[in-house]
């Protein structure tokens, strides 16, 4: 009896500690080392990236020959020198296909993680585990295709959307791909794949999905406004759409064989935070639907997760191929 009393005291104290952690914005025990790492990255970004950007900006203003530092896919400035003012303001109506673009690096962002499990399905399948496993497999496949690949997380760690953006922007990749798993509890019979690019939407379901995925973003309302203003008419949008179409095509072709009743919901627009604030062409792919019981069961099978990874990697590699070796217009 006395031991039950002691156990209860410990449990109540632990419950209170967990609540205080949430109130004070601390991560739960066990996840705080990653927090320190993120803070270190943030400090590094302040002390290294900001001075570097300032140096390049000043250089561009004084010589008029500087590269744009905020559009990562301009690899050969000599082909189309950017005006000096472009260093300070994103150019309007820039057509990326005018540049000789190349895709050499990708940041993969496995959705959710740590204290945020994302959606879950039968048998205890959780979105955070599926996205991490699929992203790890995609990384291996893209590396076979000679792309340099980084991930925003490689373990079960909690990252706010702001953390993800900071990590991705610090890597300065050519592409950003956020990997998620859909949940449609009101239509459990559906198995859907869809790919999102940044944009606005009037679709209530898509709004709700963006609301769910944007939770715990780490951004304030003022940040949102600034970010949205910053991306209007951005040159990234055209490339993001091309990437999204290629990835959606890869997913549908790759997964239809395994799931004949798969529904292709195509490329859509939605205001996902990770797409607003990242500085390179980016997409968010919903690669599966965990609310469907059959799909949730299959997600436990590593061979099926490999099929998803293969389909996603094929879409990214096809896009990279089209940028690295564009078909000649003369032929």
């Amino acid at each position: 009896m006395a031991s039950t009393g002691r156990l209860k005291q410990t449990l109540v104290r632990d419950a209170i500690r967990e609540n205080v952690d949430v109130i004070e914005g601390r991560l739960p025990k066990g996840l705080r080392r990653s927090d320190r790492i993120r803070r270190a990255i943030f400090r590094a970004s302040v002390f290294v990236i900001v001075p570097l950007a300032l140096f390049l900006s000043i250089n561009a203003l004084t010589t008029g020959k500087g590269e744009r530092t905020d559009v990562v896919f301009v690899s050969t400035p000599a082909a189309a020198p950017a005006p000096a003012a472009a260093v300070l303001h994103a150019p309007k109506g820039l057509e990326p296909s005018l540049f000789r673009l190349s895709v050499r690096s990708v940041v993969l962002d496995p959705g959710h993680g740590g204290t945020d499990p994302g959606a879950s399905g039968v048998g205890g399948v959780r979105e955070k585990d599926v996205t991490l496993d699929v992203a790890t497999r995609v990384k291996a496949l893209l590396e076979e295709g000679h792309l340099a690949v980084s991930m925003t997380r490689d373990g079960d760690t909690t990252l706010s959307l702001k953390d993800r953006v900071l990590l991705a922007n610090a890597k300065r990749p050519d592409l950003f791909v956020s990997i998620h798993v859909n949940s449609l509890p009101s239509v459990r019979d559906k198995r859907v794949v869809e790919t999102y690019v940044l944009g606005t939407t009037n679709d209530a379901r898509v709004q709700a999905l963006a609301g769910d995925e944007n939770r715990e973003s780490g951004y304030t309302l003022a940040d949102y406004r600034r970010l949205l203003e910053g991306v209007l008419q951005d040159a990234r949008s055209g490339e993001s759409k091309r990437l999204a179409e290629s990835v959606q095509g890869g997913l549908v072709i790759g997964l239809k064989r395994a799931v004949p009743r798969l529904e292709d919901h195509g490329v859509k627009e939605a205001p996902f935070v990770v797409l607003i604030a990242t500085e390179m062409p980016g997409i968010l792919a919903e690669v599966s639907t965990v609310s469907n019981d059959d799909e949730a069961r299959r997600l436990k099978d590593s061979a099926y997760r490999q099929t998803i990874a293969r389909a996603l990697a094929d879409g990214i590699l096809a896009y990279a191929e089209s940028r690295n070796h564009p078909p000649s217009k003369r032929s």
């Binding site: 039950t4 156990l7 209860k8 005291q9 410990t10 449990l11 109540v12 104290r13 632990d14 419950a15 209170i16 967990e18 609540n19 205080v20 949430v22 109130i23 204290t115 945020d116 499990p117 879950s120 399905g121 039968v122 048998g123 205890g124 949940s183 509890p185 009101s186 459990r188 709004q207 709700a208 609301g211 769910d212 939770r215 715990e216 609310s291 019981d293 069961r297």
Partner: protein, 339 residues
């Protein structure tokens, strides 16, 4: 210094379908989680109230802006009106508990096992001005605590919006010990709605009627008697046998719950696994479904057998557990939990 006498401790099970409160002054109340405001002046004159709750709100729904503000056990995202409705619902529950003027309220509220931190912060916002301090715990943990089932136990709390699983291993449950599924009471309603519509395409019935039939006649396994529902078909009242539809809808949650139960069991330390599978507790409204415990026991035969029992008081098990936690929390430790 506040004495225990000046404090009203409450445990609240804030449910998608029903919300229950148990207070340290001995009061207990349950309210259907509906909040409604009169649509216009005429409606206000008829209902004679500025806000209605629970069954009363449901009854007068045609005259109200009616909200069921919780979704999957949490405040619906993005709707200011739903946030206001949760605030009003909590205020109503604490008023029902008989708070004395000037009395401090220290509340423990249960939420789904995998509720996000941000959802907990929303809840904290909704409680502002109603309770003086708030401790949020996972609902199945509250149930386990209230029953002293703290060691080698699995609680499966089947609510309307979610089914929450929690394995108690003598420590505060981490996310590895808990799961949340959206296969729950509402998903049975959705299934039943579709099946009855298919059976009687010309019939007219609402989701509220479907819920009522489920609460009266739900079952898993063999029916004790035929399930006959009365609703208008082509404008005339008709008795329709929906036994097969009821069985199919109720049994739709058995597979997912069984799979998740087995998955969680497989993660228990091997030496304790047998003890846990002999100590599975069903809570929440879903635990009242006849035949469900037996169906899960049948599944446990695959891993050597086990025992599944339902809590005695499913309506108040969560609230009672919350109250027990509130009373046991040392007075000085409520300080940083100010709402």
């Amino acid at each position: 210094m506040t004495s225990k006498k000046d404090v009203l401790h409450v445990g609240i099970d804030l449910g998608t379908s029903r919300s229950a409160i148990a207070a340290s002054n001995g009061t207990k109340h349950v309210v259907e989680s509906y909040v409604g405001w009169p649509l216009d002046m005429v409606a206000r004159k008829i209902v004679k109230k500025t806000i209605l709750f629970g069954a009363e709100a449901l009854e007068a729904r045609s005259m109200l802006d009616l909200h069921r503000p919780l979704e999957r056990g949490l405040i619906k995202q993005g709707s200011a009106k739903d946030e206001e409705a949760v605030h009003e619902l909590l205020k109503h529950l604490i008023a029902l508990a008989g708070r004395q003027e000037g009395q401090r309220v220290e509340a423990v509220v249960g939420v789904p096992a995998e509720a996000l931190r941000v959802s907990r912060q929303h809840l904290r916002g909704a409680v502002k001005g109603i309770a003086d301090a708030l401790l949020i715990v996972s609902e199945p943990f509250a149930v386990a605590y209230g029953m002293d089932a703290l060691l080698h136990t699995m609680v499966i709390d089947i609510g309307a919006g979610t089914t929450d699983f929690c394995v108690m291993n003598g420590r505060y449950p981490t996310e590895e010990d808990q799961r949340t599924l959206t296969h729950a009471g509402d998903s049975i309603d959705d299934q039943l709605m579709k099946l009855v519509k298919t059976k009687a395409p010309d019939g007219r019935f609402s989701i509220h009627m479907i819920r009522e039939w489920k609460e009266k006649f739900s079952f898993v396994g063999d029916p004790k008697q035929p399930v006959v529902a009365r609703f208008p078909v082509k404008g005339r009242p008709a008795d329709v046998d929906i036994t097969a539809e009821m069985k199919k809808a109720c049994e739709s949650i058995v597979g997912p719950i069984a799979e998740t139960m087995l998955d969680l069991l497989s993660k228990v330390e091997p030496e304790y696994q047998e003890k846990v599978q002999r100590n599975v507790i069903l809570a929440g409204g879903g635990s009242l479904i006849p035949g469900l415990a037996a169906a899960l026991e049948k599944v446990l035969l695959e891993v050597g057998g086990g025992r599944v029992r339902a809590v005695e008081d499913p309506v108040f098990a969560g609230a009672n557990g919350g109250l027990a936690i509130a009373i046991d929390a040392p007075e000085g430790e409520w300080e940083p939990l100010g709402a």
